[in-house]
């Protein structure tokens, strides 16, 4: 599904990713962990196509197509979804209106008709109950005055509505209390299927208790320095990142 080869990227002339290789297949859950400043958020931004970042080498292949040729909205149409670490506020635009616009713009790009209102409503109800969202939430301005938990829940709600092939969850656990974490993780798990894939970017092992990864990668100084299964996450939680840094130095 996703194949990243020797990806090098940076921002404002500063090199951050120094050759990333990663392959994600349908049905898989990958976790990317790493200390602050290791390049985790850069990686998610580059996959999603944020224009501030410069790609200096390598490529990203998504279902046989070179993603780097596409604009961020076109990537979204292909089925890539990024749950933002800091979702932005859009005053005066309701959650409903935003999601409706997002769904219909994607459909338009694929040459499909707008989703009929009753179908949209039915789908919204279904996904709302999955994420324990009430009606009043839908008519609020997007992310305006939302608590940290509400913002993240809103991200996963949008993901549920858009049904992406590949979802990247960038620090979705940050700012969440344990109940909100459980609801969000539960939502992600219910949306998982053999046809879609998830990349979870996180500092902590906590979220991975709920969303269990098939693979764990450690990102350090712009490179994936270690990969393993979920036990690697436990090891990191117990020992911190220092042993990896040391290992790098020795290696």
């Amino acid at each position: 599904m996703l194949k990243i080869s020797n990806l090098q990227a940076g921002i404002e002339g500063k090199e951050i990713l120094k050759g990333i290789d990663l392959e994600v297949k349908p049905g898989e859950v990958h976790a990317i962990m790493g200390p602050n400043g290791s390049g985790k958020s850069t990686l998610s931004s580059v996959i999603a196509g944020r224009e501030d970042y410069e790609v200096n080498g390598g490529n990203i292949d998504f279902e046989g197509e070179d993603l780097l040729d596409l604009g961020p909205d076109e990537r979204a149409h292909k089925g890539i979804f990024l749950s933002f670490q800091y979702p932005v506020e859009i005053p005066g635009v309701t959650v409903t209106n935003f999601i409706k616009t997002a769904i219909n713009e994607s459909r338009k790009a694929k040459g499909e008709e707008a989703m009929p209102a009753n179908e949209m409503l039915k789908k919204m109800r279904e996904k709302m109950s999955l994420l324990e969202i009430d009606n009043a939430f839908l008519s609020r301005s997007l992310n305006e005055g939302f608590s940290g938990g509400e913002k993240k829940r809103n991200e996963i709600f949008q993901m549920a509505m858009l049904e992406p092939k590949l979802a990247i969850l960038d620090e979705t656990d940050s700012g969440l209390d344990i109940d909100a974490l459980r609801i969000v993780a539960n939502g992600v798990n219910k949306l998982k299927s053999k046809n879609n894939a998830v990349i979870v970017i996180t500092h902590y092992q906590r979220l991975l208790d709920y969303i269990v990864p098939d693979f764990v990668h450690v990102l350090y100084k712009g490179r994936i320095v270690k990969s393993g299964d979920k036990t690697l996450a436990h090891e990191l939680e117990a020992k911190g990142y220092d042993w990896i840094k040391e290992e790098r130095v020795e290696g």
């Binding site: 909205d73 932005v88 859009i90 935003f98 616009t101 713009e105």
Partner: protein, 480 residues
């Protein structure tokens, strides 16, 4: 029942009128501004003596005035002697089909979602079928007449309802109010007149669209709306379709009178030609709009302004009567080299008067937008209240946005609140939308419409939908 005699009289009279009209259509007044020209205008319109005197008085006052320089706009002063102040209503050249219309214009119509029939009407394409709007207008007229509502051109009102015109014309915007209002008073050629009788709630949105006499409005438009005691009217002005005009200077005057317990809602969508991308051409729109509220009356101005090269305009309310309410909701968009200095005046004279100002400025390109507002509380205005919110949204780095709020209070019991924000459409916001599959242009439209929501919500439903599309089109290509 009409007697045969009166019927005959009517027929011959109108024939005469028609004949007289055709006669004068052939000549056009040469450019220039002087008393003689005003006499000609008045004569051509077959006006009564008092109207001519009124015009001449305005002209004499005008001659002692100078063009105001305080607005935050720059433009070459229009040469008033180079303008022809009376041209008989010209018939637009009829086109055979829409194929002959500028494709660029058609594209805009399409984006605005304007129906084919409407497109033909706007571009002057000959129509051989009876268009809906015509029959609708006729039905409407009958209904209005039944209720005693008068809705006609101001020229017609001067002929048919002189007592009303005499009583109210110039009472809200005096002839000498300002330079361009004085000019308008001297030379206005046409406009709209509306009277709602006591206790009548006008059952439909009145629109210049349905005006009986469409011809000859143009440059110096004059509008007078009178809502008698306990009546209600919602009035729509303008059009979202782009309006091109060969006249560069537009100086309209709008007067609203809301008597005791009456309510007037006045909505405007203004989309005059703003000039090209380099700032060449475009309409100068210098408008005076003001309403007077008697006891318990309410006047609400809502405007969406996207057009014109240079705009200055301050729809205002004089809150004379106790408990009267004034509202101003405005979206003003400037792009490319457009300049706008717009806002409102809320003059609180009566006790317990309330006013609300919501102003949303959007600046893009190399444009300049200013909000200028005055809240004045008179000595007798016990417990007057005002709330003002002035927001500006900037797009790109080349534009400027300014806020000039003035507050004058002569009564200590007044409560005035003023909030102001300035924000920029962030790349973060656009990227967020794009990530969800919403393209850049669509994202800007979404963000801008969200920002203007409080104002757009005040517009009648259909107008609001059109206005939303208009905003998006006005800002196309302004980020990136």
């Amino acid at each position: 029942m009409k007697t045969e005699e009166s019927y005959l009289e009517e027929v011959t009279a109108s024939e005469y009128k028609y004949g007289f009209y055709t006669n004068i259509e052939s000549d056009k007044v040469p450019p220039g501004l002087n008393e003689e020209v005003i006499r000609i205008i008045s004569a051509k319109k077959n006006e009564p003596e008092w109207m001519l005197e009124w015009r001449l008085d305005a002209f004499r006052k005008f001659q002692k005035m100078t063009e105001p320089k305080w607005p935050n706009v720059t433009y070459p002063e229009p040469d008033l002697q180079a303008i022809s102040y009376y041209a008989a209503p010209k018939k637009k050249k009829e086109l055979e089909s829409l194929d002959e219309v500028d494709p660029e214009l058609l594209k805009t119509f399409e984006k605005l979602g304007i129906s084919l029939d409407e497109q033909k009407r706007l571009t002057g394409v000959a129509m051989d079928v009876v268009v809906d709007s015509v029959s609708v207008a006729t039905t409407f007229k009958a209904k209005l007449r039944e209720l005693g509502i008068i809705f006609c051109s101001i020229s017609e009102a001067i002929q048919e309802h002189p007592e009303l015109v005499k009583k109210y014309l110039g009472t809200v915007v005096p002839k000498s109010d300002n330079y361009y209002a004085a000019l308008n008073s001297a030379v206005f050629t046409d406009g709209s007149f509306c009277y709602i009788p006591k206790g009548v709630r006008c059952p439909m949105e009145l629109s210049t669209y349905f005006r009986i006499n469409e011809a000859g409005t143009g440059q110096f438009e004059r509008t007078l709306v009178i809502a008698d005691e306990a009546s209600y009217v919602s009035y729509l002005e303008g059009c979202t379709a782009p309006m091109r005009d060969e006249n560069q200077l537009h100086a309209a005057v709008v007067e609203l009178v809301a008597l005791d317990d009456a309510e007037i809602k006045y909505s405007t969508v203004q989309n005059w030609y703003p000039g090209d991308k380099e700032g060449k051409g475009g309409v100068y729109n210098f408008v005076t709009k003001r309403g007077l509220c008697e006891r318990n009356a309410k006047i609400s101005w809502t405007q969406v302004e996207t057009g014109s090269a240079v705009t200055w305009k301050y729809p205002s309310c004089i809150l004379k009567g106790e408990n009267s309410v004034g509202e101003f909701y405005s979206v003003a968009v400037t792009n490319n080299y457009q300049q706008a200095d717009t806002g409102t005046k809320m003059i609180h004279l009566g006790k317990n008067t309330k006013s609300t100002i919501i102003s949303k400025g959007i600046c893009a390109g190399k444009s300049n937008g200013s909000y200028r507002g005055l809240v004045k509380i008179g000595p007798r205005a016990e417990n007057a209240r005002n709330f003002s919110q002035c927001d500006s949204l900037l797009m790109g780095d080349g534009c400027g946005s300014h806020t000039f709020p003035y507050i004058e209070t002569q009564n200590k019991s007044a409560k005035i609140e003023h909030e102001a924000t300035t924000s920029k459409i962030g790349e973060d916001q656009i990227f967020y939308c794009q990530q969800r599959g919403i393209g850049e242009e669509e994202a800007i439209a979404l963000i801008v419409n969200g920002y203007c929501k409080d104002v757009l919500n005040q517009l009648p439903m259909e107008f609001a939908v059109e206005a939303q599309k208009l905003l998006a089109i006005s800002l196309e290509g302004s980020v990136g």
